[in-house]
């Protein structure tokens, strides 16, 4: 057996390469730090696979170009970072309403406003609660390594088509900028239903894609239909655990912080503290059932995020009422070290 193909790549490039491996043929975006390696890589390499790259005039134009491609059944991606993702929210809402697939990457930075370019998890609410107007959801994938940047990007394209829904990849500046060796692979997408795409009404009746429903009852029906779809997405829930078997305290973290705190958990274990990690990889749908089950065995949870408290709400909603949920949040500006987080673990562990 030959060795798998491995390469040392930057986190943003891994996303770009994951997109190409997934059969993405269209990329639209507007430059913003810290995700520029994504458009830079794709501007060079998408043409090699017969794809199209457009540096659009704005994030708003980018997401709507993606909508246009998605409507024809093509695989398209856009990427940005927090302020740019705010601009895309209108388009994401339309994608959800019209049921058009597309992949949106947020290598998030710090806010609010222009904020800064340091890593942050301040966009958790925006990503998991829809983000734009209306009662909709997007699937949200949260990688914690360069390999997962690559793998979850490939997965994002299949999920987007499967559910005819936008899929958001929520990374951050750290995940975008770090370099790690990754295993590259080829991917053959599943065949999904394409009976809805717009290609010109040749040999069939004209079709339309819309989110406008003015007749009484139609919009209610449409929203219930979308709701059913969001329920079905629960089949896609992904999470990872680390040393939870004998744990009497479970750290719940996602993305880059989960990566850092793994080292802190090792330190805690070395000192005899029975600490484990529960790491959601899908932030929507959230692994609430798994956390609930876990809370029937373990009574103490410690949520750690790079914000002042967002995912902690989902943990509290998931676990048994009797559970103790502690929280440590780090607002943007600095990245916690494994030692610092170990100190925080010591503070709450008993």
């Amino acid at each position: 057996m030959s060795n798998p193909k491995m390469e040392l790549v930057n986190g943003n490039e891994a996303i770009a390469r994951g997109a190409i491996a997934a059969g993405c043929k269209f990329y639209f975006g507007y430059p913003i730090t810290p995700q520029n390696e994504i458009p830079e890589y794709l501007s060079k390499h998408l043409p090699e696979v017969g794809g199209t790259f457009i540096q659009a005039e704005s994030e708003i134009a980018s997401i709507n170009m993606l909508l246009g491609v998605g409507a024809t059944g093509g695989r398209a991606m856009t990427s940005s970072s927090s302020p740019g993702i705010s601009l895309k929210q209108e388009g994401i809402s339309y994608l959800a309403g019209c049921e058009i697939p597309g992949v949106v990457v947020n290598m998030s930075r710090s806010g609010p406003g222009l904020g800064g370019i340091s890593p942050s998890q301040g966009d958790y609410f925006q990503a998991t609660r829809g983000g734009g107007h209306g009662d909709y959801r997007t699937i949200v994938l949260a990688p914690y390594s360069v390999q997962e940047n690559y793998d979850l990007t490939i997965l994002a394209f299949d999920l987007a088509e499967k559910y005819r829904n936008p899929v958001v990849i929520l990374g951050d500046a750290l995940l975008g900028q770090m370099k790690e060796p990754i295993v590259l692979r080829t991917h053959k997408p599943e065949k999904f239903d394409k009976s809805w795409i717009l290609t010109g009404a040749k040999g069939r009746k004209p079709r339309f894609l819309k989110s406008l429903y003015l007749n009484e009852g139609d919009l209610t029906e449409h929203n219930w239909k979308l709701f059913q779809k969001y329920q079905q997405m629960k089949a896609e829930i992904l999470y990872d655990t680390y040393q939870i078997e004998d744990a009497d305290m479970i750290v719940v973290s996602f993305g880059s912080v989960a990566r850092i705190i793994k080292s802190s958990i090792k330190m805690a274990r070395d000192q005899g503290m029975k600490v484990g990690l529960f790491r959601p990889k899908t932030l929507y749908p959230y692994p609430e059932e798994s956390l609930k089950e876990l809370s029937q065995k373990v009574a103490h949870f410690f949520v750690v995020e790079l914000n002042t408290g967002q995912m902690v709400e989902d943990v509290k909603l998931s676990v048994d009422k009797g559970s103790r949920v502690d929280f440590y949040g780090r607002p943007p500006g600095s990245i916690p070290t494994p030692n610092e987080l170990f100190e925080e673990i010591k503070k709450v562990y008993r």
Partner: protein, 252 residues
Amino acid sequence: MKNMKQVFQRPKCLRDVPFHFCPGCHHGVIHRLVAECLDAYDLQEKTVCAASVGCSVFMYDYFEVDVCESPHGRAAAVATGIKRALPENFVFTYQGDGDLAALGIAEGIHTAHRGENITIIFVNNTVYGMTGGQMAPTTMLGQTTTTSPFGREFRREGYPIRMAELMSVIEGTAFSARAAVNTPKNLMQAKKMLKKAFEVQIRKEGFSFVEFLSACPTNWKMTPEQANQRVHEEMIPYFPLGVFKEKQPGSN
């Protein structure tokens, strides 16, 4: 009926349903012109339209072609995506003055600069129709609307935008024209211009743009006849009809 020849019929690309448009509104006439031109080049099976928001929002109810909804102002970006994915198809947008000249002016202008091989049909009635008669970027100086109650004054509300001229100075624009449908003569000219715009796209010569002056009797608080007269007396002097840009075939 044996020796009779049918000389007039509903275009194939226009659905057999009543329009929701107000009496005297020009949207219905312009819809019909678009459908006739789609038929003229046998484009029904090749067309994907990027719809807009405003009075023209129900395009999928009227045109017998594939239609994709766009957020308000974003039709040119949506059309760009469609055309890049389906370069052999015929792609057009149909946008009002709020959609194109206000919210969507960045998308419109950059689509033209890229020379996207699509056609924008722009309907200028100097007012926001769907929302009940507010000021548009094309509202005439002195014109009273529900949000310019003292009449548009350039020191306060700025000047009306001339889109066809604006598009004409853009290098990527292959064709830009302004037409009106208030008289049979103008209507025939309008059809010629629209056909030219469609031909530009069919020949893959780049971006084409046709602005239609349109009447809105309801929000102008006029009879259809008075509204037609206003197009002639007030609009055409400020928004002159004609072709502002026509790249020679094969020149790019």
